[in-house]
């Protein structure tokens, strides 16, 4: 039996009251619910306060560079399809610095889970606008207000028919735990955009701001209806929908490589006869 204790307990570098604590707890609980052992898991992260999260649980971890967690995770997953790969990082890391990798991962439909701690601000560098900061919001780096419109990751993911697209909120931990569990179980690329307050640097999108707006999608909502999902993904402002917004069963990336049949590349024995045939083809 895997229990919460298996994932350990660590001192963190986060501010008191940060949404990250509750997200970390939800992640651990979801893994316990799925009975996944730390040894079967690979967490890949980038840089930012959210990207430190994998240091605070027991698992295999690759904490790489800012924006680059998805390609590292893609390489690792292709090399060993047996690993359950979870990418955990923030809005700046995934939607800003790593934007192209985000698009490519959706296109590939690589079988991994992307958890984006989305606090709509750069926390670690102390309060500059992130790709999801609201237009007009004043920061020290954007003293006249943010001039660009915010990036809508869910609408982009749905438009590209990502395998699994969901939104959670750090203030609703049980709901979030369920979403993360479903995302990890989903075969293919799964995005969970997780709204969270930044208590130090985002004075607009506070815990109360989110609580007032977030609502769970009703039981009758059909996440396989793409047109409905497009509409839902655009809903933002006075009301913010939470839950699985879109889901499909697109073919999973890697399944087209017959050379990797759920076996790590490291375990594949070399074929010298084939190599000799290849060399002779140059004669």
């Amino acid at each position: 039996m895997v229990s919460l204790e298996d994932f350990g307990s660590y001192e963190t570098a986060w501010c008191p009251g940060c949404g990250n604590f509750s997200i970390l707890q939800s992640v651990k609980q979801a893994l316990v619910d799925l009975q996944l052992k730390p040894q079967e898991l690979l967490f890949v992260s980038g840089i930012g306060q959210a990207a430190k999260a994998p240091h605070y649980l027991r698992a295999n971890v690759f904490n790489g560079l800012h924006g680059r967690s998805l390609p590292v995770a893609t390489g690792a997953k292709l090399a060993n399809p047996g690993l359950t790969v979870v990418v955990e990082s923030g809005d700046g890391c995934n939607y800003g610095e790593g934007g192209n990798h985000f698009l490519a991962a959706i296109r590939r439909n690589i079988d991994l889970t992307l958890l984006v701690h989305n606090n709509q601000i750069y926390g670690l560098t102390k309060g500059q606008a992130s790709p999801t900061t609201a237009a007009g919001q004043v920061t020290k780096a954007q003293p006249s207000g943010v001039a660009s419109d915010p990036f809508n990751p869910l609408a982009v993911a749905v438009a590209m028919k990502a395998g699994f697209v969901a939104r959670g909120f750090s203030g609703m931990p049980e709901h979030l735990t369920t979403l993360i569990g479903k995302a990890v179980r989903h075969k293919g690329f799964a995005l969970v955009d997780i709204l969270q307050p930044c208590v130090s640097f985002n004075k607009v999108n506070t815990s109360a701001w989110y609580k007032k707006r977030c609502y769970e999608l009703p039981a009758g909502y059909n996440p396989s209806d793409w047109a409905e999902a497009m509409k839902t993904s655009m809903e933002w402002g006075e009301r913010i929908p939470l839950g699985i917004i879109y889901e499909n069963n697109r073919p999973v990336y890697g399944d087209h490589f017959p050379q990797v049949k759920q076996k790590p590349l490291i375990a594949m024995k070399p074929d010298q006869e084939q190599l000799i045939r290849i060399m002779n083809s140059y004669a």
Partner: protein
């Protein structure tokens, strides 16, 4: 013929006229008939039109460099005649369309229109050239069959007929040209260019994962690997950009797959953060950089050796690395194998630095003894590791036991931040210092394994030609000619330019009356590196940076000046 090695054939024409096709077919027929070859390809960054060349220097003895003077010019368009007739030796011939040449004695005017449709002009020219130099017709027919294969029997048949007609026409109408001397024992050789040899070397070493973004002149490494990936259980992945490519390779390597990326200077500029990441996380990575002239987009399809300084310093922070610079096709193969072994054993970034000239240069090489060559793989799981596993355990040699995530009961934690022995980020400055020392200590192992430069010549020569990478062949042949002229000349060729062990070569430099650095860049980057590392100044330099490879003629003319 004044070429000491044999015969120099140059095929010129527009992109789209099929000159590379007949160049490769002619080269293959030569190799199968037992001749050695050195191919130089000069092409423009376009799919149609422009002026492209495919030159083959060939002869019965081993060749290591192209030469500039041409014996047989195959002009598929008129521009080739005006551009290259000045390179023709006395006694040389130009194969061209009958209607372009008039009555010049050095013209072989082929009535292409009478012999076949325009689309077969290249095969007709191939036939005329083959017949002139004395290649057996059946060897060329076999090569044609291999190229067109069973996929397209009607195309093969019309090409076979064109080739036969060209042989008949040449026998009856063409002027006489000195035939290549027959090779009695052709030996078993394969025709391979630098990129193909790197790909095969990587596969033979145990490559399991390759990611790339297309960039000339490195792309054919990816294509060679992609063609074989499925049959060998290797994953070849085209990434969204070079940043994605290098990070994917690091992820795959972390998960246990020996991994490689290949690009050129501009693409490598994007990969630079990955070099630093490979070093910090101590993840093995082989990086091929096939140079082309920069800065920026530069001359995309030409050659240069100007990225040495860049590769030497790429990546923020301080960490050890190794840089191999193959000078021949054989070295492309064996040094790639060595790069894999080294990347896995020292757990960090290892470079293979080539250039467009070597990447595209087909040569005849003896088959590699693949059955006798060991595979390298990730250091197998050491059985006696206690819990909890520490990915960055401090050791005397700086090397920590490397486990692969998901393959044992241990957890593997790697971090791009400065980290503790167990891989978690830290700001403990005492730990920081220990970790820098640990990483830098790995340099001692790299120094122990560094390859010696190759010296050829008598001791204490009057002139020492010092070079690195693909310029080796030109330097060897230039030295041979200087020795023939009575000038005692030695050569010192570096196939590994970092790390350098001064004891390997200082006495050779000091023992020569004069040292000349021969390099394909504008600053003498390697000469400056030697000065930095040894204090030995080399002021005389033969440099080339017009986009063309250094040839023996170029060196000899520069030394005369």
């Amino acid at each position: 013929m004044t070429d000491p090695g044999g015969l120099n054939i140059l095929i010129g024409g527009e992109a789209g006229q099929g000159l590379v096709t007949i160049g490769q077919l002619l080269a293959k027929a030569l190799v199968r008939s037992g001749y050695f070859i050195v191919v130089t390809q000069g092409y423009q960054s376009r799919i149609r039109g422009g002026h492209n060349t495919f030159s083959i220097r060939t002869g019965p003895r081993e060749l290591s460099t192209p030469r500039e003077a041409v014996d047989l010019l195959i002009a598929l368009d008129r521009e080739t005649i005006s551009l290259h007739q000045g390179d023709l030796h006395s006694g040389g011939l130009i194969i061209t369309d009958l209607s372009w040449g008039g009555e010049r004695s050095d013209f072989v005017g082929v009535p292409f229109k009478e012999l076949g449709p325009v689309k077969l002009n290249n095969t007709l020219a191939l036939g005329v050239a083959g017949a002139l130099i004395g290649l057996p017709q059946d060897v060329l027919l076999n090569v044609l069959s291999g190229f067109f294969g069973k996929k397209n029997p009607s195309v093969l048949e019309e090409n076979r007929q064109a080739l036969t007609k060209a042989f008949q026409w040449t026998g009856n109408k063409a002027p006489v040209f000195p035939k290549l001397p027959r090779v009695s024992d052709p030996g078993k050789r394969v025709m391979m260019n630098g990129n193909e040899a790197i790909a095969l070397g990587a596969l033979s070493a145990g490559l399991k994962f390759f990611s790339f973004y297309p960039m000339t002149p490195a792309t054919s490494i990816a294509l060679s690997l992609a063609a074989q990936a499925e049959s060998l259980g290797v994953i070849v992945e085209q990434a969204e950009n070079e940043i994605g490519a290098v990070n994917m390779a690091i992820g795959a390597s972390f998960a246990g797959a020996p991994s490689m990326v290949a690009t050129s200077g501009g693409g490598f500029a994007l990969m630079v953060e990955g070099v630093s990441l490979s070093a910090m996380t101590e993840t093995p990575l082989v990086i091929v950089v096939a140079q082309r002239p920069g800065p920026a987009t530069g001359l995309p399809t030409r050659t240069e050796q100007a990225d040495l300084d860049f590769i030497l310093h790429a990546g923020h922070g301080e960490f050890p690395r190794a840089i191999f610079t193959p000078g021949t096709i054989e070295e492309c193969f064996y040094l790639t194998r060595q790069a894999f072994a080294l990347a896995e054993s020292f757990q960090g970034p290892v470079f293979i630095l080539t250039d467009q000239f070597l990447a595209d240069s087909y040569r005849a090489v003896s088959s590699f003894p693949i059955e006798d060559l060991p595979w390298v793989g990730p250091v197998s799981d050491p059985p006696n590791i206690s819990f909890p596993y520490q990915r960055y355990a401090l050791t005397e040699e700086g090397l920590s036991p490397r486990l692969i995530p998901g393959m044992t009961d241990h957890l593997v934690v790697a971090d791009s931040d400065e980290h503790t022995e167990d891989g978690h980020l830290t700001e403990d400055l005492a730990v920081r210092k220990k970790m820098v020392d640990k990483r830098m200590t790995k340099m001692e192992g790299l120094l122990r394994e560094a390859s010696m430069p190759e010296y050829r010549g008598e001791p204490n020569p009057d002139v020492l030609l010092m070079t690195w990478g693909s310029t080796k062949g030109a330097v060897l042949e230039a030295a041979a000619e200087l020795n023939k002229q009575g000038k005692r000349t030695g050569t010192l060729s570096f196939s590994q330019v970092w790390p350098l062990v001064a004891d390997h070569f200082s006495s050779i430099l000091e023992g020569a009356k004069e040292v000349v650095a021969v390099e394909g860049n504008a600053q003498g980057q390697f000469a400056r590196l030697i000065r930095r590392e040894t204090g030995f100044p080399i002021s005389r330099r033969v440099l080339r940076y017009d986009g063309l490879p250094i040839t023996p003629e170029y060196i000899l003319n520069s030394l005369k000046a």
